[in-house]
């Protein structure tokens, strides 16, 4: 495309054959999704904070909520294992990658089980449902929305784990696994906010 007239510009712009690299589209797309999802969570968190102490009947958060320390530790550790899975894949250590993926899925499952136990306790023993009061409505929807994201993340991680067990996940897929790990980090980050708002600030 360039002709002789364009030579002076080249001297300004540098050589024509400068490498032209743009960000990986998977990462950009995931960043967009995270932004949109974050906006959804913000609205649910705002509703939770806005309705703190506004329930016309009991039970209150102070009476029934306990700190889910064990589940939180599991979920946050799974962020570390998924990170190790990605870096193992990048170095071509496929076995190591599968192992860390399995650890991530396991830790995520444990978190879900602790949430299920908590909900069972709240519904069965304390009689708190989504219909009981504003606390119930906002609590179940916020924690439930997060748990839904954990479930989606776990489904995708299990799929990757399955592929890796059949030896289908290779070094060249590390960029894609990193996109999935971004989502998982986001889900963990949201849990930090939910934990602080619901279990620390909200009690």
């Amino acid at each position: 495309m360039r002709d002789a007239n364009a030579i002076p510009i080249e001297s300004i712009d540098g050589p024509v054959e400068t490498p032209w690299t743009l960000p990986y589209r998977g990462t950009v797309g995931m960043a967009c999704l995270i932004l949109a999802e974050a906006a959804i969570f913000v609205i649910f968190v705002v509703a939770y904070i806005f309705y703190l102490g506004k329930s016309v009947s009991g039970p209150t958060p102070r009476e029934v909520l306990e700190l889910p320390i064990f589940g939180t530790i599991c979920l946050l550790s799974s962020s570390i294992t998924v990170h190790f899975a990605v870096s193992a894949l990048r170095q071509g250590k496929l076995r190591n990658c599968s192992l860390h993926l399995a650890g991530t899925v396991l830790l995520g499952l444990i978190f879900l089980i602790t949430t299920a136990q908590e909900w069972y306790h709240l519904i069965h023993d304390e009689g708190l449902t989504i219909q009981t009061n504003l606390f119930g409505s906002t609590y179940y929807s916020l924690v439930g929305l997060h748990a839904t994201h954990v479930v989606v993340g776990l489904l995708m991680l299990s799929l990757v784990l399955g592929f890796s067990l059949f030896g289908l996940v290779k070094e060249e897929h590390s960029e894609k696994l990193e996109v999935l790990s971004l989502y998982w980090h986001f889900v963990d980050g949201v849990w930090v906010v939910v934990f602080l708002v619901v279990y620390v600030l909200g009690r």
Partner: protein
């Protein structure tokens, strides 16, 4: 850069287009992941809904043309304004702008498709399904309680009217689900647009060399994430209220109706900018070409667009002055709303400076842009009037407000859209639209627009509230409402003129060359219509106007940027 003769001759996809059975063509459109076809489907689907919602507007104007009219019942009137508003925003405005974005953004940045073609198809079909779901409510919404059919809660569906007690039956559920699904589609397409712009630009197209249309679509898509998502969240809450007995907006259980208003308008006001930024984008491309000058103040235009994007997130509660917020909140939102007129004003001045001293060609796209400039200015001025809280206390929820936002949506956005249709039609179909019919369309629509929306301000000032289904004689509103109705007929005639022009030009229009307007952006470097792969060789650019550089090698833009 241009598609060479040799490539066209060896292009097998062109031969495949000839003489296929109709079923194959239908199958191809239903399963396509091509950004151009999806863009066209978005536009076609939006035009169908434009007709439907336009008919709803006409029915309302007939009802209001004379006092004490009984053309439609109060219930039907409520359904009409709800469906008109919801359809126009979610199933006309959003899809038609996404359609143009889908079609133009990859072509303008020298890409062969969007970043995620299958997500693109998914987003379109889920939005299309949402629109069909909304209208299916006319058939399926009576439900167990047999109460009403189409949604009748208004397009912003204030709580607690949407509670199960006050809106029994399923009409409100159809509304909620339709908005929820269209929101998912919008977020998907916005994600695609941002990723395409960030990751798919052709070689050497730095951010500072992107056409302004691409910049504005980037800002618009980024706004969609933070604006549409809150609405999606609010719809989830409303569904939980209606189906699982939650209490988010249940005032009996301590829930807050005002919280819904906040959530809705956190979406609602940025949404106005989501709709108007693409309109700015079209004007940014058309005004320079028909003034035969480069755009004035490109960096200022970019900065103003990004500025509008940010400020638009902090103005929502100016829709809520009449709710009774405290003085500090009122002051903040008055201030933020007035501040947003500064970047908007910068844009207006830059367009005027682009026209100033140019060899202006008043072809149909340009006259629509000139109409846009005048009308958007007036819409902005009534906006500044309404942004003053005391003025808003007087006129909130009156026809003055209705006239103001229709001035933005019709006088601004729709005029820019018409300009875009006339400008890019040759690229899309390979034929020119008729200039003569275009002028008829312009003048009919201009007269109709001003009859309707200029006169609509006055009943508002005289105290006529919006959404009433009729009024007594002797209020002084009758003659004005009659004029408003007459204007609506002119607009309908103009719109029919436009549709006829599009269909007729497709078969009988003058054949268009690659570059009928002597323009400068990359979409004009490929054939009309563009081939499936857009560009035979992926282009490289050295400036913001690559085709200018190509046509004027003795004085390329790249010497000055």
């Amino acid at each position: 850069m241009s598609t060479t003769q040799a490539v066209e001759e060896s292009d097998e996809t062109l031969a495949l287009q000839q003489g296929r059975p109709p079923l194959n063509v239908v199958y191809e459109w239903l399963t396509t992941v091509d950004h151009k076809k999806i863009g066209l489907m978005y536009i076609a689907y939006a035009l169908v809904f434009l007709l439907v919602a336009g008919v709803e507007a006409l029915l309302m104007r007939i009802q209001l043309a004379i006092p004490n009219n009984h053309f439609v019942s109060p219930q039907v009137f409520n359904q009409l304004f709800t469906m008109h508003g919801t359809t126009m925003i979610f199933f006309v405005g959003m899809p038609i702008l996404f359609g143009f974005g889908n079609y133009l953004v990859p072509l303008m940045i020298g890409a062969r498709d969007m970043a995620f073609p299958r997500l693109n198809a998914f987003s379109f079909w889920i939005s299309a399904f949402a629109g069909i779901l909304l209208y299916f409510s006319y058939v399926g919404a009576s439900g167990l309680y047999a109460a009403g059919s189409a949604p009748d809660v208004g397009w912003f569906a204030y709580a607690p009217l949407t509670a199960r007690v006050f809106s029994p039956g399923h009409s409100t559920d159809y509304w909620t689900l339709a908005i929820f699904l269209s929101g998912i589609g919008s977020i998907g397409t916005a994600l695609n647009i941002v990723t395409t712009i960030v990751s798919m630009r052709c070689k050497s197209m730095k951010m500072s060399r992107m056409p302004l249309l691409v910049w504005l679509y980037l800002v618009m898509a980024a706004l969609v994430f933070v604006a549409v998502s809150p609405l999606t969240a609010a719809q989830i809450m409303l569904t939980l209220d209606r189906y699982l007995g939650a209490h988010f907006f249940d005032t009996q259980a301590g829930g807050s109706a005002v919280l819904w208003m906040h959530f809705f308008w956190i979406f609602g006001h940025p949404e106005v900018y989501v709709l108007v930024l693409p309109a700015f984008a079209f004007v940014n491309e058309i005004v320079p070409v028909f003034s035969r000058k480069a755009i004035f103040g490109y960096p200022a235009m970019v900065a103003a667009s990004v500025g509008i994007g940010f400020i638009s997130l902090s103005v929502w509660a100016h829709h809520m002055f009449t709710v009774g917020m405290d003085a500090a909140a009122n002051t903040f939102f008055v201030f933020a709303t007035m501040v947003i007129s500064v970047p908007t004003g910068i844009k207006i001045f830059n367009w005027l400076a682009t026209i100033w001293g140019g060899k202006v060609i008043f072809a149909t796209p340009m006259i629509f842009c000139v109409g846009f400039l005048f009308q958007f200015l007036i819409a902005g001025l009534t906006g500044i009037m309404l942004s003053a809280a005391p003025f808003d206390w007087q006129l909130g929820n009156s026809y003055f407000v209705v006239a103001h936002f229709h001035y933005v949506l019709v006088g601004g956005i729709l005029f820019a859209l018409f300009a875009a249709f006339y400008y890019w039609y040759p690229k899309i179909t390979g034929r020119m639209m008729s200039e003569k019919l275009g002028k008829w369309h312009f003048w009919l629509f201009l007269i109709g627009f001003h009859l309707t929306f200029d006169f609509m301000h006055v009943p508002g000032l005289l105290g006529m509230p919006r959404r009433i289904y009729t009024y007594e004689a002797g209020r002084g509103w009758g003659a004005l409402n009659f004029l408003v109705g007459v204007g609506a007929i002119f607009q309908a005639a103009g719109l029919l003129c436009f549709l006829y022009n599009m269909i007729r030009s497709y078969y009988h229009g003058k054949e268009a060359s690659h570059d009928p307007w002597d323009a400068w952006t990359l979409e004009w470097s490929t054939t009309s219509p563009p081939p499936d792969y857009n560009f035979a060789t992926v282009p490289t650019v050295n400036s913001r106007r690559p085709l200018w550089d190509l046509k004027h090698p003795e004085d390329p833009d790249s010497d000055y940027e």
